[in-house]
Every structure is written in structure tokens, then in C-alpha cells.
């Protein structure tokens, strides 16, 4: 395996610290830079940037406006790949919107939709497309195909890369009462290009753990080491936390711990 890049997400409120940091290889961009962000020029000059914005949900075709936006951001960042999510978070007519990642039904119909629309998007951008798995907090009876199998079939038909979000897999395993290692083994790890790692914390509404802008626990780092060893095409590991509440200390120390765990 080639040397892995270890990075984080760009958090604009930590711009000064990130501009000075020397231990981070790349920054993923969840939002376009603000016009008045004084650190952006230095960040752009200093880092390899990964496009990880919301481009649109691929249960529907992206329209020209969304494609042009994706192309323009990809060019601005000079991103090595373009990331999107396996998500379907607003109704087709736009009336209801969850404003939060939410997985599609794992069915033949949704597989066709995602394959068709991902192939169409892939044809319109100049960089490889990677797609990130999204956790479900509950099972839906109308889902017919196990998630890992659905993803495997998607990747076979699109040749798109896999952005493996490990806390998402860990949470799904947790809420299914499954062993995360065994749960992970079902996923198409040979397709993984990038790995996300983050902390999880107890959530008062969910009454259980969920994604949080927190440092990964040692157990999560061990899970990462296990996973990365099984992802021969992986090029980057990213500390996945974007929040105004995130401190520079948590971000920098998390990257450092990821790097150390990987022996990088």
C-alpha cells in the first residue's frame, strides 16, 4: 500500500491553526470557503483539498446547476476525487427535507437510480467519484437487500470509489447488536479510496451513541487499523469532524493519534 495521507476537515473557525499546522496532509471541504475567510488563501496554497460538499442526492439526476457547481468546486480545490453520499434526505417534490444525511431504501429500484445517476455524474466531472456509506438508526421493512451487498453491486456497476466511513459502520453494527469487525467484513473494502474516522458520543434524543465532533476513542482507532489493513486501494484517512464547537486541540491531537495508530 502506498503511503496514506492523513488529514481532517477544514473548519473555518480553526483557520489560523490549520494554516500553521505541519502534521496534516489534506483537508476535506464540506462547504465552499467564505469570501471573507482571511485564512483561505493560505489554506489553499498549503493543502491538498478534497471536495466533500453536498452536491445533491443521487436518487435523482443532478441538474445542470448542481453539476456546474460540482465542476467549479472541483476546479477550485484541484481535488483528486469528488465525494458524495448514499443518501436520500428530501422528498422528490421538495416538500420535506431532513437536512441531515439519511440512507435510501436498499432495494433494486434505488440501486438502479443510484447506478444511473452516479454514472451520469461521473461522466460529467473530471475527477473520480467516491461515495460514502450512511448509517441508519432504524431498519425499514421495505429495504430488501443488505446494505453491504447493495453497495457491492453499486460499485461493480459504476466503478466508483468507496469512501468508507468507519463510525457509520460501527454505529450500524452497534444498533444491530453485531460485532463491528464481522459487520465490516461484508463491505466491499477492495473499493475503498478514503476512510473517515471520528468519535461517537451519547446522544440524549437517540438514547445511544451517534456521530459527534469528538476525538476517536482508542477502540475506534483499533477498528481503523483493522479496516485500513483490508483496504489495499486506500489513499487517505480523514478525521471527520466539522463543527463550530470543535477545538483546535481535538482536531490536531486526533490527526496525530490517527497517524500514530497507522504507524504513519
Amino acid at each position: 500500500m502506498a503511503q496514506l495521507m492523513v488529514g481532517a476537515f477544514y473548519n473555518p473557525h480553526l483557520g489560523p491553526q490549520l494554516a500553521e499546522a505541519t502534521t496534516i496532509d489534506h483537508l476535506a471541504m464540506a462547504d465552499p470557503p467564505r469570501a471573507d475567510d482571511p485564512c483561505w488563501p493560505r489554506i489553499k496554497a498549503r493543502y491538498k483539498l478534497l471536495l466533500h460538499d453536498y452536491l445533491g442526492q443521487l436518487s435523482e439526476p443532478l441538474d445542470e446547476r448542481a453539476i456546474e457547481r460540482a465542476r467549479s468546486l472541483a476546479e477550485l480545490y484541484r481535488t483528486p476525487w469528488v465525494a458524495e453520499h448514499f443518501q436520500c434526505l428530501h422528498t422528490e417534490d421538495g416538500t420535506y427535507n431532513l437536512n441531515y444525511v439519511f440512507p435510501p431504501l436498499y432495494t433494486e429500484e434505488f440501486l438502479e437510480r443510484f447506478v444511473t445517476n452516479a454514472n451520469a455524474l461521473k461522466a460529467r466531472i473530471d475527477q473520480p467519484l467516491v461515495m460514502e456509506n450512511i448509517p441508519g438508526f432504524f431498519d425499514v421493512t421495505a429495504s430488501r437487500i443488505p446494505e453491504a451487498e447493495w453497495l457491492r453491486r453499486f460499485f461493480e456497476r459504476t466503478d466508483v470509489g468507496f469512501l468508507l466511513d468507519l463510525p457509520h459502520v460501527w454505529l450500524e453494527a452497534h444498533y444491530h447488536g453485531a460485532d463491528p469487525i464481522a459487520f465490516l467484513a461484508e463491505f466491499p473494502l477492495e473499493r475503498v479510496v478514503e476512510v473517515h474516522v471520528a468519535g461517537v458520543e451519547q446522544d440524549r434524543d437517540l438514547q445511544g451513541p451517534w456521530i459527534a465532533p469528538a476525538a476517536p476513542a482508542d477502540a475506534m482507532l483499533e477498528f481503523m487499523v483493522h479496516a485500513v489493513a483490508r483496504c489495499p486501494q486506500a489513499k487517505a484517512v480523514t478525521f471527520d469532524a466539522v463543527s463550530p464547537s470543535l477545538s483546535a486541540d481535538v482536531l490536531l491531537s486526533s490527526v496525530e493519534r490517527i497517524r500514530k495508530a497507522l504507524g504513519n
Binding site: Q57, S59, G94, Y96, Y100, V140
Partner: protein, 261 residues
């Protein structure tokens, strides 16, 4: 024989159940038994708190910047009983829910130490208006261009529902950027009558523009029935002025054109 329901329609039903509390409690949803109701309820509460946290941090950012004076951070209401009491009625993104949540924030901030901020009431009105104007269904995809509409687009201009005109006694736009910069004494705006138009594009972008009397008049006259000639006459505008003003209002999302017959 009933027509088969597509998986996309089922997904829409699940999204609606998560976003729309009254629907989530209805037999129409519960009898479908698509998911564990307790898990759905918990995830819906999580989503509601997340949904409004994002909006409060964004739309009430000036009140948030003033929290060290007022002692009232707007997003604190999300953990108050008042917000929990709204759960059974919340519909994420709806205007009624935006009004209800924004009202909680306004009452919360207003009860703080506002003596040094004579424009606090107007600031809260402004932030509340921004949040309410942003609500409502949006267009997620442009789809194919509609040639028919384009051809007829200069027929009958109509106010976009939800757009607001705000009359202020302080020139708030002058002070807003200063509130987000470091300050020791609370920044004060000039006391000057100011009229703002707050509108949302069909894609959900909220914009604010200073408004002159002629723009406000034109906006109020645009009811979807008056022709361009009627509008020009009633607003006292020359054709070129009318066209430029309407173009500005359309860009802002305050006016759209209905297809003329």
C-alpha cells in the same frame, strides 16, 4: 386493484414521517408499520433539534454575538421545555414551525440584559424574519428549462408568498458586520428609518435588500393580475425603471412571473 407503490414513494413516506410530527402520530403512518416507532420517534427528535440548531446558529448569529451582554444564547432554547413542548406539532421546514421556534428564541433573548442594546427588538424582528422567510418547500432540481414560461415571463409579475418588508427605526445593516467582529462596547447603529425587503429564492437562498419607496410600492402592487403597463402607471415608474426594478426583485426572489394567458 391498487397500483403498486414505488420504492421512491415509500422513501418519501419515511422522510415525511421523520419531518412531520402530526403525520408521524397518524394512523396513516402507523398502520404501514414500516419501521420501529420508538426508533423513528427518537430519530425524529434528534433531527428536529439538529434542524433548528443549524437555523438558530445561522439566522440568530447577531443575537448570539451579543449573548455575552444579554446572557442569552439563542440556541439554548433547544434544550428548554418550551422546545420539547413543540415536538408533537413540529414540521421541519414549515412556516408555522419556523414561526413557533423563532418566537421561543425571541422571548428567550428578550428576557436577558438588553438595556445597552436599544435596537434589540428590531434586531430580533430582523432575525426572526430571516428564519421565517427561509422556511417552506424549495426547488431541489431545476429540471429541464421551461421554454413556455420564459417566452411569457414579462407578463404578470406576482409577489412571492412569504417575502417580507421590514420597517426599522435603526439602520441595522450598518451594525450587523460589526457585531461579528471583536468589540468591547456594544456597537450601535445610526438611528435612521430603514426599510428592508427579505426574500428567498426558489432554491432556498435568503437575501436582504434595502428598499426605496418605489421598490416597496411595486412589490406591494405586484399581485399577479396587474399588467406591466398598470404597474408602471400605478407605481409612477418609466418602462426602463420598471424593468430594472422588476429584474432586481426577481433576482432577490421577491417577485415571480405568472404565465400570462
Amino acid at each position: 386493484m391498487p397500483s403498486p407503490v414505488s420504492d421512491r414513494a415509500v422513501q418519501d413516506t419515511i422522510i415525511r414521517a421523520l419531518a412531520d410530527a402530526p403525520f408521524r402520530g397518524s394512523p396513516e403512518w402507523r398502520l404501514q408499520e414500516l419501521a420501529n416507532q420508538d426508533r423513528v420517534d427518537r430519530f425524529a427528535r434528534f433531527l428536529a433539534r439538529h434542524f433548528y440548531h443549524e437555523r438558530l446558529v445561522h439566522f440568530f448569529k447577531y443575537s448570539r454575538a451579543l449573548a455575552r451582554t444579554t446572557g442569552r444564547a439563542p440556541e439554548a432554547i433547544l434544550t428548554n421545555p418550551g422546545f420539547a413542548a413543540l415536538f408533537p406539532t413540529l414540521v421541519l421546514g414549515s412556516r408555522a414551525s419556523a414561526v413557533a421556534v423563532a418566537r421561543l428564541v425571541v422571548d428567550h433573548v428578550r428576557s436577558g440584559a438588553t438595556a445597552e442594546i436599544p435596537y434589540m427588538e428590531e434586531l430580533l424582528s430582523y432575525e426572526q424574519a430571516m428564519m421565517v422567510v427561509e422556511s417552506g418547500a424549495r426547488v431541489w432540481s431545476d429540471g429541464a428549462p421551461d421554454v413556455t414560461k420564459r417566452k411569457n415571463q414579462w407578463s404578470t409579475p406576482m409577489r412571492v408568498e412569504g417575502t417580507m418588508l421590514l420597517d426599522l427605526t435603526y439602520d441595522l445593516p450598518v451594525v450587523l458586520p460589526r457585531l461579528l467582529q471583536p468589540w468591547t462596547e456594544v456597537p450601535q447603529p445610526p438611528r435612521e428609518p430603514t426599510r428592508l425587503l427579505i426574500a428567498r429564492s426558489s432554491h432556498g437562498r435568503v437575501s436582504v435588500a434595502r428598499t426605496t419607496t418605489s421598490i416597496a410600492t411595486l412589490f406591494e402592487l405586484a399581485d399577479g393580475r396587474k399588467s406591466l403597463e398598470d404597474l408602471a402607471r400605478e407605481a409612477g415608474l418609466r418602462p426602463a425603471e420598471l424593468e430594472a426594478t422588476l429584474a432586481g426583485l426577481v433576482d432577490l426572489g421577491a417577485v415571480r412571473f405568472s404565465v400570462g394567458s
